[in-house]
């Protein structure tokens, strides 16, 4: 079971990532480096807003996503 599952995920990663690799070269990431393309433009502000929702709703977690952008800022 576990092995089947891992194989499945590996295939998904292969199809999902490997085919993307040649698409966006490091010199083509000007748009991705822009603040309006980041997952969180202002950390402190987003933390506060998330906190306001967190204490008034049951759902919690999975609100932050690392990375993105161009790995270059």
């Amino acid at each position: 079971m576990i092995k089947h599952g891992m194989l499945g995920v590996t295939i998904v990663l292969l199809c999902g990532c490997a085919s993307m690799v040649p698409d966006v070269k490091p010199y083509e990431r000007e748009q991705l480096a822009d603040p309006i393309m980041s997952f969180s433009r202002d950390t402190l502000s987003d933390q506060h807003r998330n906190h306001v929702f967190d204490v008034r709703e049951s759902a919690r977690g999975a609100t932050t996503t690392e990375g993105g952008g161009c790995g270059c800022n």
Binding site: K3, H4, M6, L7, T10, I11, L13, L14, C17, A18, V21, P22, K25, P26, Y27, E28, R29, E30, A33, D34, C70, C72, N73
Partner: protein, 169 residues
């Protein structure tokens, strides 16, 4: 038991493909001729790489939106100031979509070496630039002798060492 062994092998095979595939495309390796290009510079003229045979040339691919690139520029300028009279040429190839952005940034950082505008990404594609910044050293015969991807403080010492070696040849 056997079935799971087979699965494991298939899994490893897939993983190895996963690991190897992205490495295949590459920048010019040391010892290969530097691909030629012509680009407009910040002084308004067109510069053709092959017209500068006989000089030791550093090609630095950079962008205004790339933090490490901006950090590296002043260090590169120091190198340029120090060796420009001994047959060293430094070309800062900007990959920005807008040449004005690169020109403004070069002025702000007070760089004295020529800044080339590769807004159409011709040179970047030709060199298959796979990291920002990327730095190459080309010897007097137009052969690539050194390639460096990315920037870390202190790497300019390595550049200088290699540069002096090429200037002596």
């Amino acid at each position: 038991m056997q079935r799971s062994g087979l699965l494991m092998k298939l899994h490893l095979l897939l993983l190895s493909v996963f690991v190897v595939t992205p490495v295949m495309a590459a920048m010019p390796s040391t010892g290969s001729p530097a691909p030629d290009f012509t680009l407009r510079t910040n002084s308004g003229i067109n510069l053709k790489l092959s017209e500068h045979r006989g000089e030791v040339i550093m090609i630095n691919f950079w962008a205004t939106w790339c933090g490490p690139c901006r950090q590296e520029m002043p260090e590169l300028d120091r190198l340029y100031q120090k060796y420009r009279k001994t047959g060293f040429l430094l070309l800062g190839v900007s990959v920005d979509d807008k040449p004005e952005a690169a020109r403004a940034m070069a002025q702000q950082l007070k760089v004295s070496f020529p800044v080339l505008f590769d807004d159409r990404k011709q040179a970047s594609r030709l060199y298959d630039v796979d990291a920002m910044p990327s730095t190459l050293l080309v010897d007097r015969h137009g052969v690539v002798r050194f390639v460096h991807r990315g920037y870390r403080a202190g790497v300019e010492k390595q550049y200088e060492e290699k540069l002096r070696e090429l200037l002596r040849q």
